[in-house]
Amino acid sequence: MTYEEGFFYVIAAVTVIGALGVVTAKNVVHSALFLILALLGVAAVFILLASEFLAIVQVLVYGGAVTILILFAMMLTRARDVEGSLDGPQRPFAALAAITFMVTTILAVTKTEWRGETEEATVVDINQIGDALFTTWSVPFEIASLVLMVALIGAIILARGEEGE
């Protein structure tokens, strides 16, 4: 096991623990905190994949905006005050389905002989990404902006209180 590999396993373990925490914690706030852990872990994975830019995006977008949004939402919906289990009655089925799916997927990705696999993660130049985003992928980019706009409009319209509410 190389140094890098060891590093990967650590990060992976952290990420998986975070994810596990998200889906098993008995308290919503704990879940949210676990989510942050998992997201940070993923960010670290990105670094291992030589994509520092994405790691930064990850930390900023997720670690910052998304989690805070989620925490806000928890507060607003008083999620902590809800009595009873956070898990529904179909947990065993869920576990079964997830494990089956996991086994299938792991089997599939490990059985596959990926074509053109390189020894190591290649660094993608951030300038190239920038260029591509505004040339080749300009249309998706524009559409993504529309998606954001739609989400924005939707969130505002739906969440805001109306007169008399």
């Binding site: 529904g88 179909q90 089925f93 869920a94 389905a97 089956t100 799916f101 299938t104």
Partner: protein, 632 residues
Amino acid sequence: MGMEQAWLIPAIPAAAFVFLLIAGPYLPRKGDWVAILAIGASFVLLFPVLADLLDKSDGTEYVAGVKAWEWVQFSDFKIELGFYVDPITIVMLAVVSFVALLVQIYSVSYMHGDSRYGWYFTVMCLFAASMLTLVLANNLLFMYAAWEGVGFCSFLLIGFWWEKRSAAEAAKKAFITTRIGDVGFLIGIILLWREAGTFNIQEIIEFAENGGYDNTYLTAAVLFLFMGAVGKSGQFPLHVWLPDAMEGPTPVSALIHAATMVVAGVYMVARMLPVFEAADPVALNIVAAAGLTTVVISALMGLAATDIKRVIAYSTLNSLGLMFVALGSHSVTAAMLYLFVHGFFKALLFLGAGSVIHATEKQEIDELGGLAAKMPITAATFAIGTGAMIGLIPLAGFWAKDEVLVVADHEQNIAAYLVILASLFITGLYMSRLFIRTFLFAARDQHAFDHAHEGGALITVPLFILGVLATIGGFIVFDEVGEALGFAGGFGQFVFSHEAEEYKFHADTAAISTVLAAGGAVIGWFLWQGRAEAATRIRETFSPIATVLENRFYIDSIYQFAIDRVVLTLGAVVAWFDRNIVNDTAVDGSAGLTYFAGFEMKFLETGRIPNYALAISLGIIVLSITLLVTQI
């Protein structure tokens, strides 16, 4: 005018029918004169046809006249509207048109004042047309069509007074019963056609005589044909409709249920006799057996009947049975001779009975009596009719019966012969009873008696004419008479199946039959004279037998039971099955099953997101695993 134009004979009444149907209600006297003129014309036209036939023939072989139009024709399938004239036809035509003419004339008076007077004559025209067509048809299918046509007219006329429940029921019974026979008739026709490829009677006969049919096949086919005759001519076991048919107006009984329609079966078998003969002998034995059975049971039932018309109806059955015995004995001559004279004396009896009914409005012989005083002409002619029916020498019936006895003696075994002889005695018994109870001794219903009177000329003249014919009609068996009338010889040389027959007087047979018949009549006199105490005593002594007879051997009851309990129950069961099994269970059930499947399935939709997500997950898991397993 000749045999080629014989088609005019039925065509004229047919035209009259259509005319009356449309214009009848607007004509003076409701158009009865149209009907009479039409049938009169038919009768008159008979003579040129007959003359033509005699002209073209040499006296031993008769040339047949044929005229045919195509009715349906494609590929090698052909149905013709064809007409055929030969001696048998002529005899039948004569009976039909003549009796019909007399009956029509009689009806003018008899039906006078009836609310459906015009309708009566309209239907009578249709009947005449159908009956004449039946007689003239050259092929079985055309004959079948006319056969059904006369059956339909019979239905209409039996049910003429349909407001009476019994009349409506009798009409229904007659139609359905004959219809059952017709099932066989039609099957028989098709069976004969199937091998011969033609419906033409002469061609079928030729085909059969040349051995074109398989023997068993042909036997089956002719027996099916005979079923038709059994139904139409009221032979056992389909005889039940005929006594009930007396619900119709009496002239109708005279024409249709005595002289013409009911003998159509005899006529048909006579026409087809060569085919019957070509089949296995068992076929004709069955014909004879059916005839014999009918002869016996009808005679016995006649003993117990009390309705004047029913008694005559039983005598008709008796006569028809004898005709079939004759046919079963290979004798067209005897059968046709009997048919010929029977037409006259039976019509006479019915018209006489009609006269009585018209005068007294009573039909039960127990309520009549002594009418001879009031209605001498009727009584006299009725006596002639009775005598002819019994077979007293020299009345017409005697000669015919004699012929039948001779051929039966010749062809059938001794038992059959004896049975016929016995029936002669019984016939003598009940016919004399009829006459005695109706016309002689004291009136039992004084009121009816007081009102009774002889009818007008329209009633008495036909009676008189028929009376004469019933007396002398039998003499045509003699060559001399035939020659005098312009024929080559006696009846036997005009109407025959294989070779002309010379009439021979069989003294022994004549003696036995005369003794038996007259004996019957004489014993009848003793039994039913005065207040009929003797008869009453006998009845009480043999009351179980009498009950059986009075109930007509329970045959009607059995049929009624079969219809009510078996057929209608079957109908009800099938209807129940259809409603509850086929429909409610199978059809609605499968619909219900579909509905239920939907009902169960809808609960998959729980409304809860985790369940929905689980469905999606399971969907992709199953999809992935099966895709991977099956494709790799």
